[in-house]
């Protein structure tokens, strides 16, 4: 059971990364339940219990708006990510869902080819399993408090 769940979580993360890294951002909100929380924050804020995020979306509509803004409104240089997502640690189950923690590396590739390690950190996830696994919560805890230039594409 646990091995199967681990496999499903890993497959989910692989699909999640592929959607972002291959610029299929419109499907990104589908990884979340309607009444979700997606937040990008830092390890320091997380440790201090500070609630704000650089991105703070507590509905799937806000995730869709984030993508719509990137496509139609926001100005930033063309860039892409490459996610490397590690093995999830399953922390437990409760009424809210399955809790797990997963480390990630994200490289950013700029239009001129410059490739840098843009963010490292861990996903603190809560997932609902109704046949398909979807995120109730994905808290992206970046190890560093520093963001280079801007954070456009979600992590």
């Amino acid at each position: 059971m646990s091995a199967e769940l681990l496999f499903r979580l890993s497959a989910l993360n692989t699909a999640y990364a592929a959607a972002i890294d291959s610029d299929r951002l419109e499907v990104w909100p589908d990884f979340f339940v309607e009444d979700c929380l997606y937040k990008v924050t830092t390890a320091a804020n997380h440790a201090d219990g500070l609630a704000a995020g650089v991105i703070y979306a507590d509905s799937r509509g806000m995730l869709m708006d984030r993508i719509a803004a990137l496509r139609k409104a926001n100005i930033y240089e063309p860039q892409a990510y490459r996610h490397l997502i590690g093995m999830p640690s399953i922390l437990g189950h409760d009424a809210a869902g399955i809790h797990c923690e997963t480390p990630f590396f994200v490289a950013r590739i700029m239009r001129d080819g410059a490739t840098t390690l843009f963010a490292t950190g861990r996903y603190l996830d809560c997932l609902r399993d109704d046949g398909a696994l979807r995120f109730v919560e994905r808290i992206v805890v970046c190890d560093s408090s520093r963001f280079d230039t801007l954070l456009a594409i979600p992590l």
């Binding site: 924050t41 704000a52 995020g53 650089v54 703070y56 409104a73 230039t149």
Partner: protein, 417 residues
């Protein structure tokens, strides 16, 4: 994120500047000599700089480390509520006295040779001052009171702690001027609470960000998000307040419309897209919490402090130069200690407008880099800053660059160029 590392030849910077404040020569963003002069004349000059929030150092011994330009600074709560600030540099060999972001101490001891400082930054003791077993030790005439890091004067307004290095600086209140101080107190009117901190590294000279924040002309042209969702448009009421000396700026956008939306259509501007609608517009549901209908207020204090009220998203921004073509932008997002859960959630959601991933401020993160790269070969050329005239006075419109000119008026005054 430049194509290549931009390292213009600075051996022969033109160093000339047309008279007035409506031309900005590009060598100002490139010249390392200018950066050094700014540290001496502005950051260590008769100006005031945001250091931290009072609530970040509530109890005796609570400290935070920050920076005034290149100068590392400790700001600490002393006895009886006093606030002290001093250079974070041991008087002995120059090491940082404190290297954490914050902490709580009885006193400060440099890790290098254990020289000890009280909460006011006074050197109290030197390890082995009398030597060991009668050997070694400091000379007889060594006096601890003759040594110490430079002290800053600290004052507060609205729960914000400011410091100045120059003993000749006016009081904080006089420096800010009453109209600007009133704009600060309008928002920062009760006990604050930090809700998040972020640092954004920008690939541009710090002055480009100082100009950007004062540039009310660009707001609804560069930032499509603002315009489309009617957060701010030039046809909404509002204007800019500029201190007499040009140094400080406060812009305001008021809810009601002053002219029809056709003014945008007539300009055929990219930022007018009536097709764009939010799936979840509830995140922009704002509550007027300051007793007026100002939706947006940006206060920029010379040289490096910015205070934002974007609906109910409130933040303090501090710029720290990191070379001629790099700077740190430190964001402190705040709420009030008496926020209801609903208001706190509103601040968290509206936080999406600002910060490194802000729907609005995202462009401000990269636009300075576009200028820095654009002017790489143009140290002898000038930027044109003539929107709304050639002076720097308050105006009842935001279609102006008056506040940018105000920055340069204050800058030329302090720099003596």
């Amino acid at each position: 994120m430049p194509d290549t590392n931009v390292s213009p030849d600075t051996s022969a910077m033109p160093q000339s500047w047309p008279a007035g404040i409506s031309r900005v020569p590009f060598w100002l963003y490139q010249d390392p000599e200018i950066l050094r002069a700014e540290q001496r004349k502005i950051f260590e000059g008769p100006a005031w700089h945001f250091l931290c929030l009072e609530v970040e150092i509530e109890n005796t011994g609570d400290y935070r480390t920050t920076a005034v330009g290149d100068m590392p600074v400790i700001v600490v709560r002393g006895e009886n509520g006093a606030i002290h600030a001093f250079e974070n540099r041991c008087a002995h060999r120059g090491a940082l006295i404190a290297f954490a972001n914050r902490g709580t101490v009885k006193d400060f001891t440099c890790v290098y040779h254990a020289w000890r400082y009280d909460l006011k930054g006074n050197l109290c003791s030197v390890a082995f001052q009398r030597g060991v077993a009668g050997k070694g030790g400091m000379p007889e005439d060594f006096r601890v009171e003759d040594h110490g890091p430079r002290k800053l004067r600290a004052e507060t307004i609205g729960g914000l702690v400011f410091g100045t290095v120059d003993p000749a600086a006016p009081s904080l209140e006089d420096y800010l001027t009453p109209p600007i101080a009133a704009k600060i107190r309008r928002v920062f009117n009760r006990k604050l609470e930090v809700i998040g901190r972020f640092t954004q590294t920008l690939p541009n000279n710090w002055k480009l960000y100082a100009e950007n924040i004062r540039d009310t002309y660009h707001a609804s042209l560069l930032h499509l998000f603002f315009t489309t969702f009617r957060i701010t448009r030039f046809n909404q009421a509002g204007g800019v307040t500029i201190s007499e000396d040009g140094a400080h700026h406060a812009s305001a956008t008021i809810g009601r419309m002053e002219a029809s939306d056709d003014v945008y259509k007539q300009q055929n501007i990219r930022s007018d897209d009536d097709e764009f609608r939010l799936n979840d517009p509830s995140f922009l549901d704002a509550v007027a919490e300051f007793g007026d209908d100002i939706q947006l207020q940006n206060v920029a204090l010379f040289p490096a402090t910015m205070l934002q009220q974007l609906h109910n998203s409130i933040a303090v921004r501090q710029t720290v130069p990191r070379g001629t073509d790099s700077m740190d932008l430190n964001w402190t997002f705040v709420g009030f200690a008496d926020d209801t859960p609903d208001m706190r959630r509103r601040r968290l959601r509206q936080g999406n407008l600002a910060g490194p991933a802000g729907f609005v401020s995202m462009e401000d993160g990269c636009i300075g880099g576009f200028v820095q790269r654009g002017v790489a070969a143009a140290s002898g050329e000038n930027g044109v800053v003539e929107m709304g005239g050639r002076d720097a006075t308050s105006m009842a419109t935001r279609a102006t660059e008056a506040s940018v000119r105000g920055f340069w008026k204050a800058y030329r005054g302090l720099m003596g160029i």
